[in-house]
C-alpha cells in the first residue's frame, strides 16, 4: 500500500512538472505580417499587410503556432486585393494560412532574462491548401516580461500552387518575402 501511494505521488508529480501551465504560453491576436512579391521592374508595390496574426508560443516546450485569415491582408490598390483573394490565394476556399512547429533551440533561450535570442524554427507551413515543411531563423526579444517574436523568410508561390499569370509576370515575383512581428504577452 505504501509503495502504491509512493508511485501514485511520483506519477502525479511527474505529470505536474511536465504539463505546461497557461503561464508557459505567450500569445497575441494582433501580430503584424507583411508580404512583398514585387519584381524589380514593377512600377508599383505588390504587397500587403495584416495586423490580425494569431501567434501562440509555449516557452516550456518550444511549440509555436501562427494563424492568419487571408482576407485580413490590406492592399493599397483595391483591384490588387480582389485579385489576391479571388485568383491567387482563393481565400473563399482556403481562408487561412497556418504554421505549426517548434523552436529547435528553445533551451538556449532564457525567457527570464531580458535579451535578444536567435531562434531556429521548423514546422509545417500551410498556404492555399498546401502544407510544406519549412525551417527559418528569427529572434525572440525578451523585455520586461514580454516577448517580441520576429522573423523574415521567403516562400515560393509555386510551392503553394499559387499561379502567377504571364500577363503580370513582370510585376509579381515568384517568391514572396514575408515578415512577421509579434508582441507576445503571457496567457492568463
Amino acid at each position: 500500500m505504501r509503495y502504491l501511494k509512493f508511485f501514485l505521488l511520483a506519477g502525479l508529480l511527474n505529470i505536474m512538472l511536465n504539463v505546461s501551465s497557461a503561464q508557459d504560453r505567450y500569445f497575441t491576436k494582433s501580430g503584424k505580417v507583411q508580404f512583398d512579391a514585387t519584381t524589380p521592374s514593377s512600377p508599383e508595390k505588390v504587397g500587403a499587410t495584416t495586423n490580425a496574426l494569431i501567434c501562440v508560443v509555449d516557452i516550456k516546450t518550444g511549440l509555436i503556432q501562427f494563424s492568419i485569415v487571408m482576407k485580413s491582408f490590406e492592399f493599397k490598390n483595391a483591384l490588387m486585393q480582389e485579385h489576391f483573394n479571388e485568383n491567387y490565394v482563393e481565400s473563399n476556399k482556403f481562408p487561412k494560412a497556418e504554421f505549426k512547429g517548434n523552436i529547435l533551440n528553445n533551451t538556449e533561450i532564457n525567457y527570464s532574462k531580458d535579451g535578444s535570442y536567435k531562434a531556429r524554427v521548423k514546422g509545417q507551413l500551410s498556404i492555399h491548401g498546401v502544407s510544406k515543411e519549412v525551417e527559418t531563423e528569427g529572434y525572440m526579444i525578451v523585455k520586461g516580461g514580454k516577448i517580441n517574436a520576429n522573423a523574415t523568410f521567403t516562400a515560393g508561390l509555386k510551392d503553394y500552387d499559387i499561379a502567377v499569370p504571364g500577363l503580370v509576370a513582370d510585376k509579381v515575383a515568384n517568391y514572396a518575402k514575408i515578415s512577421l512581428d509579434c508582441s507576445l504577452e503571457p496567457l492568463k
Binding site: 500569445f27 491576436k29 494582433s30 503584424k32 495584416t50 495586423n51 490580425a52 494569431i54 501562440v56 503556432q65 494563424s67 485569415v69 487571408m70 482576407k71 485580413s72 490590406e74 492592399f75 493599397k76 490598390n77 483595391a78 483591384l79 486585393q81 481562408p95 487561412k96 508582441s183 496567457l187
Partner: protein, 152 residues
C-alpha cells in the same frame, strides 16, 4: 455618304476606346472606398454576432464575410502596435469570444482614445472568423473599420 459613315464609325470607335481606356486606368488605380460612405449590409449587436457565429460559423460566415457590418457593443480592449495601428476589441466582458476591429489608418487617433467598457458603435468589413482552436477564445474579424459614435 460613304465618307460620312466611315467618319461616324471612326468617331464612335474613338469614343468607345477612350471610355475603355479610362475605365482600365480607373480600375487599375482604384483605392478601397472609405467605409464612412458605404451603407452596411447588416446592423447587429456584438452579442448577437457572437451567438450567430458560435451556433453555426459556416452560415454566419456566408452571411457576413466581405460585407460592411455595423456593430454596437462594449469595448473590451484597445490594442495599439508600436507603429500606431489600432485594433478595438468588442464583446461581452466575461466571454472569451470577441469582435476584433482593425481600424482604418484615418481613424487610429480617434480609436486610440476610446475607453474600455464604453459602448461603441462602429462598422467594418468582415474578413473572417477564428474559432477557438488554440484556447484563446473565438474572434470575428473586421478590417478598415470606422467609428460611428461612442457612448461613454
Amino acid at each position: 455618304m460613304k465618307k460620312n459613315r466611315i467618319l461616324k464609325t471612326v468617331i464612335a470607335l474613338i469614343i468607345v476606346l477612350s471610355a475603355a481606356g479610362y475605365y482600365a486606368y480607373y480600375e487599375f488605380n482604384r483605392k478601397n472606398e472609405a467605409l464612412e460612405n458605404i451603407q452596411p449590409a447588416y446592423s447587429v449587436s456584438a452579442v448577437e454576432a457572437t451567438d450567430e457565429f458560435s451556433k453555426n460559423s459556416t452560415a454566419a460566415l456566408k452571411k457576413y464575410v466581405d460585407k460592411v457590418i455595423e456593430v454596437e457593443g462594449q469595448v473590451k480592449n484597445v490594442e495599439t502596435t508600436e507603429k500606431g495601428d489600432v485594433t478595438i476589441v468588442v464583446g461581452e466582458e466575461n466571454n472569451m469570444s470577441s469582435l476584433r476591429f482593425s481600424m482604418d489608418s484615418t481613424e487610429t487617433k480617434k480609436a486610440s482614445l476610446i475607453k474600455i467598457k464604453s459602448t461603441l458603435h462602429l462598422k467594418g468589413i468582415c474578413t473572417g472568423y477564428n474559432a477557438d482552436e488554440m484556447g484563446l477564445g473565438a474572434d470575428i474579424l473586421f478590417s478598415r473599420s470606422v467609428i460611428i459614435d461612442n457612448k461613454k
